[in-house]
């Protein structure tokens, strides 16, 4: 190739944002179903929401907000040419992600222990709307949890690139895009939290 590899900072960021739009629409489909079924089963949704543990939900909200702060600060750090701090902050984000998943694990296993999971006998015996609420809850938080895992792995890989210096104060778009992805995960949770845990 006769030309040097093409670097387009703004293009890379535009591409990432477009990808985030698709993620917004993906969860948008779930929120659409939520809206429709909330309209149809307001009482069952309230009853379902009461059964979710709002303390665990709040804890996870705080954890995710903190993780978002960490990754936002890591972008500032790399821009200021402080790679070690950037790596430490990304590590903080990943620890938060692990914490989030741990809380999630306890939450889900408690629910499943009570016989509340999609297609369970308990839900089939109960009001139809409640089964819808919990199915939506499992699908939405499940897909969100998957995004947490993917985001964590992605940030881990990017941190290793910061470590080796491939991502640095001049070439940090990878970290910035990784951070954008992580913020999206946070953003979705900001809406999941009140809709599922607090609609009482």
């Amino acid at each position: 190739m006769s030309h040097p590899p093409h670097k387009d900072y703004d293009g890379a960021k535009l591409g990432m944002w477009l990808f985030l739009f698709t993620e917004l629409l993906l969860f948008g489909g779930m929120f659409l179903l939520y809206a429709v079924y909330l309209k149809r089963y307001p009482h069952e949704f309230a009853a379902g929401g009461k059964q979710l543990n709002w303390i665990m939900g709040s804890a996870n909200t705080v954890i995710l907000l903190t993780s978002s702060l960490c990754v936002a600060m890591s972008v500032t750090a790399i821009q200021r040419d402080e790679p070690r701090r950037a790596v430490a902050l990304v590590a903080g984000t990943i620890i938060c992600a692990a914490g989030f998943m741990t809380v999630k694990y306890f939450e889900w296993s408690a629910k499943i222990g009570h016989g509340i999971y999609p297609g369970s006998a308990h839900l089939k015996a109960g009001a139809p709307g409640e089964s819808v609420f919990f199915s939506l809850y499992y699908m939405t938080t499940g897909i969100h949890g998957l995004h947490v895992l993917i985001g964590g792995a992605l940030l881990g890989w990017i941190a290793s690139r910061v470590n080796t210096g491939t991502v640095n104060a001049r070439e940090f778009i990878l970290l910035e895009n990784g951070a954008l992805y992580w913020h999206l995960v946070d953003l979705i949770w900001i809406f999941i939290f009140p809709l599922y845990y607090l609609v009482l």
């Binding site: 659409l32 702060l69 913020h183 953003l187």
Partner: protein, 93 residues
């Protein structure tokens, strides 16, 4: 979009983080009070403010050019239409 970088200070990020935590506490508080149907609205309104803060500061949207903002707007309008138009069916069935 411009090639020059805007660096957001740690202080500002931390400030936004505190604001987000405060808003979270507010949501929890609001939904514990008996507000009836307004509860969902209040919770969603606060969530929107929180989302706006994350997008504007954490995601640097405040410092981006017009293009990205318009595209984000387009996306949100599209989502609103998808949800809204479905209610032509759901509300009147």
């Amino acid at each position: 979009m411009s090639e020059e970088q805007h660096i957001i200070s740690y202080r500002k990020l931390a400030f936004v983080w505190v604001a987000l935590l405060a808003l979270t506490a507010l949501t929890v508080g609001v939904t514990r009070v008996e507000l009836g149907a307004y509860k969902v609205l209040a919770a969603l309104a606060i969530a929107c403010v929180k989302g706006g803060l994350v997008i504007a500061v954490f995601m640097h949207m405040k410092y981006e050019g017009r293009l990205l903002r318009w595209l984000l707007f387009l996306t949100l309008v599209t989502l609103a239409i998808f949800i809204g138009f479905t209610f032509f069916d759901v509300l009147y069935r």
